[in-house]
């Protein structure tokens, strides 16, 4: 099957099935320009109906999940768009790229590429959007749209110099101004009214390594921690299908595992991780659960660790780590990213950068119970393995080699 190449403005028909839409930036990262890739489900008037029509890092799978953000790492995002299962009034799905906090514009990148694959995983079209010289910091990359009963994809490559806000308003999204994440004024009322959608995101880096979430009488709800990463750029493996299956194994990606050390207030110490089958439980002690182990590679949301925030009072500290189970340590190419979702709070994001290539273990983030408040400390410290990490944080567990 030949892949149709589209320039900005061009379009072509797509089959009405579950498509995947992949966005790649080139280069994948530009210093000072953190790119968020989102999708908007739109009606015939090119407007959203509500917050559930916005698919982004803050809500990767809203509504009925017919448009979902499957993978999201530096310079790459992948969506699934289940055309037959879209809400009936959805006539367009627009894919966008925005530079976080408008700190740079897309002129800093050389090109943006959108690939649409059919339900069988075969690429059917590709749009290359040259971006040099662009002053826009928010771009509509392309859109799936319904025209006289036929779904089509159009490459757009237009946008706004003012960033996410004018883009969101273009689609009829009402957005709140960046939320003050540092010090929320007071504990929210027992049944808080639905907040307007927040586009703010907290990125912990060297300049801002810590954020603290105020104590809540009702606890923090379900705290979800996601580890995602770039699974290597082997084209055969990525295209999937027969050839991908036959030859994809030649270039093995990296398998990252997420896990945590925890210490409860009563002094109990232990670990949750796939290695050793210590998956934990959300409903009962230890109130931390590892949601399966993803080693499939191609399409993935990465790995999830959930913490029962209602039980936050039982914890003293939790150290979330990522370690390379399979593959050579190459943190620069792995583009690991840990995102912490606390209900009604802006997501907190930590990128696994500056890694030493001989060290397979990364202590990513330390969650501390600070008089009931949830303090999130960026760590991003690299170790040989569990043993030396444990020692560095004075946890006190005994470690021996294991396999899953």
């Amino acid at each position: 099957m030949s892949v149709t190449q589209l320039v900005a403005g061009a379009n072509c028909p797509v089959p009405r099935e579950k498509l995947s839409v992949e966005v790649l930036l080139s280069p994948t990262q530009v210093s000072g320009a953190e790119v968020d890739i989102s999708a908007f489900a739109l009606t015939a008037s090119s407007k959203v109906r509500g917050d559930d029509d916005m698919v982004f890092y803050g809500q990767p799978r809203p509504g009925n999940g017919s448009v979902a953000l499957l993978a999201n790492s530096a310079g790459r995002a992948e969506f699934s768009v289940d055309l037959p299962n879209l809400l009936a009034s959805t006539e367009k799905v627009a894919f966008t790229a925005t530079i976080h906090e408008n700190r740079a514009n897309f002129g800093a990148f050389s090109s943006l590429q959108v690939t649409v694959k059919n339900a069988a995983g075969q690429a059917i079209l590709q749009a290359s959007l040259p971006s040099s010289g662009m002053v826009e910091s928010a771009l509509i990359l392309g859109e799936l749209y319904l025209r006289q009963g036929q779904w089509k994809f159009r490459a757009v490559g237009q946008g706004f110099a003012g960033g996410l806000k004018p883009l969101a308003e273009h689609f009829g999204v009402e957005i709140s101004d960046p939320a003050p994440t540092a010090a929320p004024p007071a504990p929210p009322p027992p049944s808080p009214a639905k907040k307007p959608i927040s586009l703010s995101k907290v990125t912990l880096d060297k300049t801002k390594p810590r954020v603290s979430l105020e104590k809540k009488t009702e606890g923090f709800g379900e705290i979800r921690i996601n580890l995602n990463w770039n699974r290597g750029q082997a084209p055969a493996a990525k295209s999937g299908g027969l050839l991908g299956g036959l030859f994809g194994g030649g270039n093995k990606g990296v398998d990252l595992d997420v896990g945590c050390l925890y210490e409860q207030r009563d002094g109990t110490i232990s670990a949750i991780q796939a290695l050793g089958n210590r998956f934990g439980s959300l409903r009962s002690d230890p109130f931390i659960e590892l949601k399966g182990d993803d080693r499939t590679g191609a399409i993935s949301e990465g790995e999830w660790l959930h913490i029962n925030g209602q039980q936050w009072h039982t914890f003293k500290r939790i150290l979330v780590y990522a370690f390379i189970y399979e593959g050579a340590p190459n943190w620069a190419q792995t583009d690991g990213i840990v995102t912490i979702y606390v209900p009604n709070e802006a997501p907190v994001e930590i990128r696994l950068t500056e890694g030493g290539n001989s060290l397979g273990m990364c202590a990513v983030v330390l969650l501390e119970n600070n008089n009931g408040a949830l303090q999130v400390n960026r760590e991003v410290r690299y170790f040989h393995g569990h043993q030396d990490m444990d020692q560095a944080y004075r946890w006190g567990l005994n470690w021996r080699a294991g396999s899953k």
Binding site: A8, G9, A10, N11, R147, Q158, G159, G162, H170
Partner: protein, 192 residues
């Protein structure tokens, strides 16, 4: 309610409105809603003989030559007419003054500076052409270019043509790459 044509469809104007002598050809498109260079679209008319070519440069009515020498076709200029329906540019045609040698008048829209601005008709939304009785103000026929376009930078929206002693209108929607120059080449205008 005015009649709406699909691409390739045609209509006898003489039959639709027997009183018709002066018409206004309105052409429109949506403004750009994103940042960046606006879409500067130019409407033009080409007066064509039976072989589909102009007789000379005076048969090309555009922003630098707003009126034909015989006065049959007049471009109202770059300003919006603002007549409620949202025409972006319009031309007036006095059918009684069209010389006998002219069999057809093609109405085109081209994107100015399309190459430098990396623009094409795939980025222009809701383009239309409509024919209005300029005396009564009634819209006779309309063609929404609902068909999808992509890399074209010049487009024949529609044409008036003689057929058995009456005037007809055809919804054309034929696109070309190469902007106004390609359009001129097509109709036999030598660009200096």
């Amino acid at each position: 309610m005015a009649l709406s044509l699909q691409k390739g469809g045609n209509l006898s104007l003489s039959k639709a409105d027997p009183s018709l002598s002066k018409i206004l050809v309105g052409l429109g498109w949506d403004e750009r809603t994103t940042d960046g260079s606006g879409f500067d679209l130019d409407a033009s008319a080409f007066l064509l003989t039976a072989n589909g070519k102009v007789r000379g440069d005076s048969d090309f009515i555009f922003y630098n030559q707003l009126k034909s020498t015989d006065g049959s076709v007049e471009h109202t200029g770059d300003n919006r007419t603002g007549q409620g329906e949202g025409d972006d540019e319009s031309l007036k045609v006095d059918l009684t003054k069209v010389p006998a040698a002219i069999e057809k008048i093609a109405f085109t829209v081209t994107i100015h500076d399309a190459e430098a601005r990396r623009q094409n008709f795939g980025q222009v939304a809701n383009a239309f052409i409509r024919i209005v009785n300029d005396v009564s103000g009634a819209e006779i026929v309309r063609y929404d270019l609902a068909e999808d376009y992509s890399t074209e930078t010049a487009m024949v929206f529609g044409e008036l043509y003689r057929y058995n002693n009456e005037w007809k209108f055809r919804a054309v929607g034929q696109g070309y790459a190469g902007g106004l120059k390609a359009m001129c080449d097509q109709f036999g205008i030598q660009i200096g």
